[in-house]
Amino acid sequence: MSAPSSPNDQLSSDTIALDKNAIVAFATLFDPQPYHLDTDAAEASIFGGLCASGWHIAALATRLVSETLLANGIPFLEMTSVGHLKWHRPTFVNDQISVRIALGSSHSESPITDTFIQALEVEVCNGDGEVVAGMSATAAIATGPAAGAAL
């Protein structure tokens, strides 16, 4: 991955494979509904197959955002808000998840000391290049000495 040349460049993440065990493990803890736990029930559901909890996808996307920003020298501290998140299609067993990140051009003040707020547009893609979710978010980015510590 290379550093962005302008604020509007997209950054691309590595890929995470989601196997059945991971999908069921997350759902068992946080979203124990039939279409995330049981293959037969999932096939009869609105999704048509066993698929990951949307919250699992959101959490994995945030991990990929964090790793990708840090790898590009942007000292990400934490996600602070999500203005909009839409799940476009289910993520099925053995799908490969990655994110594309566009950095907003404006920065705003942060309630967290030694940080500023960065707007992010995140697309979550599967292995076929389909967008499975889109997220408009903000993150706290470290400045000053804290930036070095974060990286």
């Binding site: 803890l29 946080f30 979203d31 124990p32 509904q33 039939p34 279409y35 029930a41 009869a44 559901s45 609105i46 999704f47 909890s53 949307g54 919250w55 699992h56 959101a58 959490a59 994995l60 945030t62 991990r63 964090s66 501290l77 934490e78 996600m79 602070t80 808000s81 999500v82 203005g83 909009h84 998140l85 839409k86 799940w87 967290i112 000391t113 030694d114 940080t115 470290a142 804290a146 510590a149």
Partner: protein
């Protein structure tokens, strides 16, 4: 008299203004660290010692743990108060969320109480059988501070027309 529970009802039966308290959850250090190692591996959430020297001055939960726990509390609540959930027939999936904000840090030992209120029923029909229920969801800590809020659109099955001859 028949009591109609949350998911026992059709879209048309769910009123704007309906309010539920899904329940409370106390976060342990172990679950905060476990979640963060998988999904949000920052020292503020994975390493109590490093967290003390971080901008958070102590271990804090990943924001998505706070939000994912909302989902768990909702599912648990539905299992108690809704009938016919397990067949997935009227199990509405989430479509989108708006205005998700994490307002205060959540630390080991904190207890959050999760609330849900139906705020809108947008006029949309999806795949001929679903409507949208928009709810506002909030979590409060033991100091009564609001620590999280968001709105979510969840599918709810519309009442079948008589000609569909669907069994209740």
């Amino acid at each position: 008299m028949t009591t109609l529970y949350l998911r026992d009802r059709w879209f048309e039966d769910l009123p704007v203004g309906e309010f539920h308290v899904f329940g409370s959850h106390t976060f342990s250090e172990l679950e905060i660290v476990d979640f963060a190692q998988q999904f949000d591996p920052r020292p503020e959430s994975t390493n109590p010692e490093k967290a003390r020297h971080s901008h958070r001055q102590g271990l804090v939960a990943s924001p998505w743990l706070v939000t994912a726990t909302w989902m768990r509390k909702m599912v648990d609540y539905m299992e108690v108060y809704a009938q016919g959930v397990n067949d997935g027939r009227r199990n509405g999936a989430g479509v989108a969320i708006n205005d998700l904000q994490w307002l205060e840090p959540v630390r080991p030992g904190h207890t959050l109480t999760y609330t849900y209120e139906i705020v809108e029923k947008p006029e949309r029909v999806i795949r001929e059988k679903w409507g949208l229920i928009r709810s506002r969801n909030e979590a409060f800590n033991q100091y009564s501070e609001k620590v999280m809020q968001f709105e979510i659109d969840i599918l709810a099955e519309r009442r079948p027309k008589r000609s569909d001859n669907v069994q209740e």
